[in-house]
């Protein structure tokens, strides 16, 4: 199973902020690059997929084709294209489209909550560590590294045994998993910025370390964090689905793509389409977020390059 930490780190490393570009001799006023921004396919495509996902999830609060709680056993396991059921029905006769929409809701809820909390806490911790003096910086960075090394799924399973399965467990597991990632990804670039002249200048005119971290470092690593956020969303959705698949995530009657997938397994011969739909939904959503992250990095990167050396 994919290791989000590495994916995340690899994805965001390219979005380094300005000032990192090493300069030799100056080139005079930077030349304005001809707007040769190749049509940003990843960004557009990713944006579309993500929007669809979010809209569907939000829509599910107001309307679904069928009553979410409706169980209609006589109509069970109808194939896609059946009368009134575009995607068919599951083993309890519930409309697949409705189930997908509800599953989107879970994914959205879990991933938004966990990513937001993890990113905020992790990034703030990372900033703090970067601003630490030499005495504490080493040990604290090791702490982040240790957190990174702990396999997330194990944490999730342990939490599940302690707290019982459910969306809260899933959220907590993802948060615990992601905080070290966010911290580690933040520490490096933050330290690099702290070594730049304009930071030294800020200290020279009396700014406190806290001010510098929040007003000079944070805005300059913001693009990096945005890219990190989109990649984290993708990973969170996948993790949520995995946990649900394993039975330790969101519990019935709350819908989840992962559990949907799980329940469709034994029915593979009877109704193979039941595996396709949640699977495709997961793939498309995760793909969407990854593309979005990729596209954002490309868009934000040349902008940065334009502000640096040519």
């Amino acid at each position: 199973m994919l290791d989000p930490a590495h994916t995340i780190a690899a994805n965001v490393s390219a979005a380094l902020p300005v000032g990192m570009v090493d300069e030799e001799l100056p080139v005079g006023p930077p030349k304005r690059r001809r707007s040769a921004v190749r049509f940003p396919i990843p960004l557009v495509l990713g944006g579309m997929l993500v929007s669809i996902f979010v809209l569907v999830a939000l829509l599910s609060f107001f309307w679904t084709p069928y009553d979410p709680k409706a169980i209609n056993v006589p109509d069970r396991l109808l194939p896609p294209g059946s009368d009134g059921y575009i995607f068919g029905t599951d083993k309890l006769g519930r409309d697949v489209v409705t189930q997908l929409m509800l599953g989107a809701r879970s994914s959205l809820y879990v991933s938004v909550l966990s990513t937001t909390v993890a990113l905020t806490v992790g990034a703030l911790f990372g900033l703090f560590v970067a601003g630490c003096g030499p005495r504490w910086q080493g040990p604290l960075t090791r702490v982040a590294d240790v957190g990174l090394a702990i396999p997330g799924i194990l944490v999730a399973l342990v939490l599940a045994t302690k707290l019982g399965p459910g969306s809260t467990t899933a959220i907590l597991a993802i948060i615990t998993w992601f905080i070290p990632v966010a911290a580690r990804v933040t520490i490096g670039p933050a330290k690099q910025i702290l070594a730049l002249d304009y930071v030294e200048a800020a200290f020279a005119y009396g700014r406190t370390r806290r001010f510098v971290l929040m007003n000079h470092v944070l805005p300059n690593i913001a693009p990096l964090l945005i890219v990190l956020a989109s990649v984290m969303f993708a990973a969170a959705i996948l993790i949520e689905a995995s946990l649900a698949f394993l039975g330790v995530g969101v519990q019935p009657p709350t819908a989840s793509w992962g559990r949907f997938l799980n329940e469709a397994q034994p029915l593979l011969e009877a109704a193979p389409s039941l595996m396709y739909f949640p699977g495709v939904a997961i793939v498309l959503t995760v793909l969407g977020f990854n593309l979005l992250g990729d596209g954002l990095r490309t868009v934000l990167d040349p902008q940065q390059a334009r502000t640096g050396m040519m």
């Binding site: 030799e24 001799l25 100056p26 080139v27 005079g28 006023p29 930077p30 030349k31 001809r34």
Partner: protein, 327 residues
Amino acid sequence: MLEVRDLRVRIGRHQIVHVDSIDVPAGGRLGLVGESGSGKTMTAMSIVGLLPDEAEVSGSIMFEGRELLGRSDVELTRVRGAEIGVVFQDPSRALNPMMRIGRQVAEAIRLQMDLSRTDVRRRVVSLLEQVQLPDPASLLRRYPHQLSGGQQQRVLIAIAIACDPKLLIADEPTTALDVTVQEEILRLLVTLSEERSMGLLFVSHDLGVVRFVCDHIAVMYGGGLVEVGPTSKVVELSRHRYTDALLAANPGIPAADEIEAYVGRRLTVIRGSVPALGNFPSGCRFRNRCEFAVESCIESPPVRTVDDDHRFRCWNPAVRSVDASVG
């Protein structure tokens, strides 16, 4: 040995280099001097085909009677290793930090020559001696970060001359080094050039450094040559106003008895700054910053020659008491 004629380099909409002619005889040392945007690095890199992919090059680059322009990457790689050596500015970035020194130099040799293991090793040690590194045998096993900046640059030079090239191109090789180390490296380059009859194309923004090393100087501004000639003439009898201004603006150390007089005295300045690509004026590219611009400067000035070996493009050049025929 090296003859560059009508070299033009285009990137996108802009023609960033237009050099009418450059010559480096065997064993000769030519300095290519200019500030940012002068095109000096592009010119040097086009000789060995190290330009970015988007660059379009035209003209003629004759090396040892053979045309280099238009050759394939494969052919140029051969030429680059065996016949033209290149030394870049920052040694800490040009050397592979994960590879031992001995191996890096050995690879440069092995790429072009087929020698036995022992022969390669012997050659490596010999090369390290020639670049005046102390105790070469022990250096073989060291890593780049264990060497000082000056030592690293010597290793780079060793790699560049590994296969006895006839021409060495050095792009700002001492800019990142301390001044005492710089002097040693510059002397080394001159020694190597003389001992091996190896031509040297030395690219730099520093006129003083170029004067120390080279017997001829070509001054570039805005992508083109403005003055070319023997070092003594270009430095002492400069004609082009930009060369003049560059010499005057340079804050060198005054003679011992004049230092006191110069402290606190304002420096001669060149008005404005180097324009961005595409913002150069028509005609003479320097005219918007030149104190001596005249009406004709709107047209691109023709080449004028003094004493057969000193040429420049200027409508209103500096007048020298030794003035001779202008052709």
